[in-house]
């Protein structure tokens, strides 16, 4: 593990990506306090002004005169929060499902994998769209709906690892020592799958950020006056002729976040020697 850590630290790409993520997370958390404007305050005397460090609105304003610095960082924070919670949800469900299936083996494993197969064959994205329409648009629903999609691949990875581990001697020793299946899964199987899980979780975060932006872009996610990167990009896309910065600022932040998480995930996979799927 310490080995992997030093390999990771030596990778220049990983260091830069990690730094970029830290900076953006930090900005997202403290940023809104650096600027006196609030995310939904309308400044009638400064409508759709371009970015400039001298004025009161560093990254410009939108059509309603709302400050884009605060709105973008606020949106980044919401996007990150959704991604974090949804990743944790998919982690917990995926690890539990995969560990139980892989460790049980036999008929239970077969049935559980069949369920997984059917689910991944479904056009889940359409169900998420239907769900958001049915149950109204709320942040909580976003967490659950997106997390519900993310666990499928996670479960498959964990199951594969669990099957390998099941045959090892130390599991036999644990069984001989009188450990029950729950204890074995929690104490022996789960810790041993942490490497691939960590890699996949890092790669899940950008996927979820992307998916949340996609839903918000369609008008199904975060609602006005709240902002997420997706809603900001949607607003920017429709105003790009008159106010291109409205598109470029949130678009750039989204791109940096996604690139950074993907690069970090790849570097982690290399450092931990996890093969790609």
């Amino acid at each position: 593990m310490s080995d992997a850590w030093s390999r990771l630290r030596r990778s220049r790409r990983a260091t830069i990506a990690f730094a970029a993520i830290l900076v953006l997370v930090g900005l997202a958390i403290v940023g809104p306090w650096l600027n006196p404007n609030s995310y939904d305050a309308i400044d009638w005397s400064n409508i759709a002004i371009p970015p400039g460090l001298t004025g009161a609105h560093w990254w410009g304003t939108d059509r309603l005169g709302r400050d884009l610095f605060v709105r973008t960082l606020d949106g980044t924070r919401i996007s990150l929060a959704v991604a974090l919670v949804a990743t944790v949800v998919s982690l917990i469900v995926g690890i539990a499902y995969g560990a139980v299936a892989g460790f049980s083996g036999g008929r239970i494993d077969h049935a559980m994998m069949r369920v997984l197969e059917i689910m991944s064959g479904l056009p889940l994205i359409f169900f998420v769209i239907l769900l958001t329409v049915v149950f109204g648009r709320s942040v909580e629903l976003l967490f659950v709906a997106i997390g519900a999609i993310g666990w499928l691949t996670m479960a498959r990875i964990v199951r594969g690892q669990a099957m390998v581990i099941r045959g090892r001697e130390f599991i036999e020793a644990a069984v001989a020592g009188g450990a029950g299946p729950v204890r074995i899964i929690v104490r022996h199987v789960v810790p041993n799958v942490l490497g691939p899980v960590l890699v996949y979780a890092t790669l899940t975060v950008p996927q979820i950020i992307l998916f949340e932006s996609f839903l918000s872009f369609l008008g199904l996610g975060i609602q006005e006056p709240q902002a997420s990167l997706g809603t900001l990009i949607a607003a920017g896309a429709s105003e790009m002729e008159a106010a291109p910065w409205m598109l470029l600022v949130p678009g750039l932040i989204l791109a940096i976040l996604l690139v950074a998480f993907n690069v970090l995930g790849d570097a982690l996979a290399e450092a931990l020697d996890v093969r790609e799927r």
């Binding site: 479904l122 359409f126 169900f127 932006s213 470029l248 989204l254 791109a255």
Partner: protein
């Protein structure tokens, strides 16, 4: 092969029925109805409307009727686009969406394999780093950011291409949407091709091929590429799903009259039949794509036997 194809196709019918059933009841749980307007309609008008469309019947009778209609190829009338059936609406937009999707997927496949292979063969050199850097960017920048950005550059600043619009199938209208849709899967395919080709090039049979004195070109094209493309083939199914969901937003941004807008709009309008029709169309396309991918893998990989 044909037997396999038919059996798999038959197996898709229960899946499709399950999807239709789930979606049918899901959309009906949603509050509101297709005839809700800002100004509430008089109760008797509402009752008449509901009676005309059969919405006054118990839900399970409506479900039976709908599925019965489907068996006859009837998707029902649209609730919002009066005087249009769902079949007409989808039939009008589908060719445009299919053209867009097929072009995007085709370009992603050909371009991705070509750049990925080129990067693999130039491993460690500048061309490799450059291609892979672009690939990371392609994976990270989604279609709905890419399309407006491309429109800004090529449409508004350079005036080379129209930003949006649809002029009876002029090629210029399709360039930017196709580019925006194809770049993300192209990047993933390039990465997959590169990684697999590098691995295959190290295997003993490639060394044997070189030892026989075959030129590098022949070794790569005839021996190495085929096994390296197997993971690419299995990625085509998720890539198709990605292109389809991407087209939902790309068509809206580019103002293309495809079917993309009907899914979200239909769901928001409670246009029950339109939403279900869209779910059926998309699911059928995804299932067919999965089947094609399995056939493709069987053709690429001699170890795979198609079992029914």
């Amino acid at each position: 092969m044909i037997r396999y194809f038919l059996v798999r196709l038959g197996g898709a019918i229960p899946t499709l029925l399950a999807i239709v059933t789930l979606s049918f009841f899901l959309i009906r749980i949603a509050p509101g109805g297709p005839f809700d307007q800002e100004q509430t309609l008089p109760a008797d008008v509402m009752a008449n409307l509901n009676a005309t469309y059969g919405l006054d019947q118990p839900l399970w009778i409506q479900y039976g009727r709908y599925v019965g209609g489907l068996l006859h190829g009837d998707f029902g009338p649209s609730f919002r686009y009066r005087d249009f059936t769902v079949t007409e609406l989808i039939g009008e937009g589908l060719p445009i969406s299919l053209t867009l999707g097929a072009l995007a997927l085709g370009i992603a496949l050909i371009g991705g394999v070509a750049t990925g292979a080129a990067a693999a063969l130039a491993r460690g050199r500048i061309a490799d780093h450059l291609t892979m850097g672009l690939a990371v960017l392609g994976i990270a920048v989604p279609s709905f950011v890419l399309l407006p950005a491309l429109g800004l550059l090529f449409g508004i600043y350079l005036h080379w291409l129209p930003v949006a619009g649809w002029d009876r199938g002029s090629v210029a209208d399709l360039v930017l949407p196709v580019a925006a849709l194809s770049l993300p899967p192209l990047a993933t395919i390039a990465r997959l091709t590169r990684g697999n080709l590098i691995e295959v090039m190290h295997s003993p049979f490639i060394r044997a091929a070189f030892a026989k004195g075959l030129p590098r070109r022949t070794v790569v094209l005839r021996h190495a590429l085929r096994p390296a493309l197997i993971p690419v083939a299995s990625y085509l199914a998720p890539a198709a799903a990605m292109v389809m969901s991407g087209s939902l937003v790309v068509e809206t941004i580019a103002g293309l009259p495809g079917i993309g807008r009907y899914l979200v709009q239909g769901a928001l309008n409670r246009d029950y039949t339109l939403v279900l029709g869209m779910v059926i169309v998309y699911s059928t396309m995804l299932i067919t794509m999965g089947l094609l991918v399995d056939l493709l893998i069987a053709a690429l990989d001699p170890r795979v036997r198609l079992e029914t």
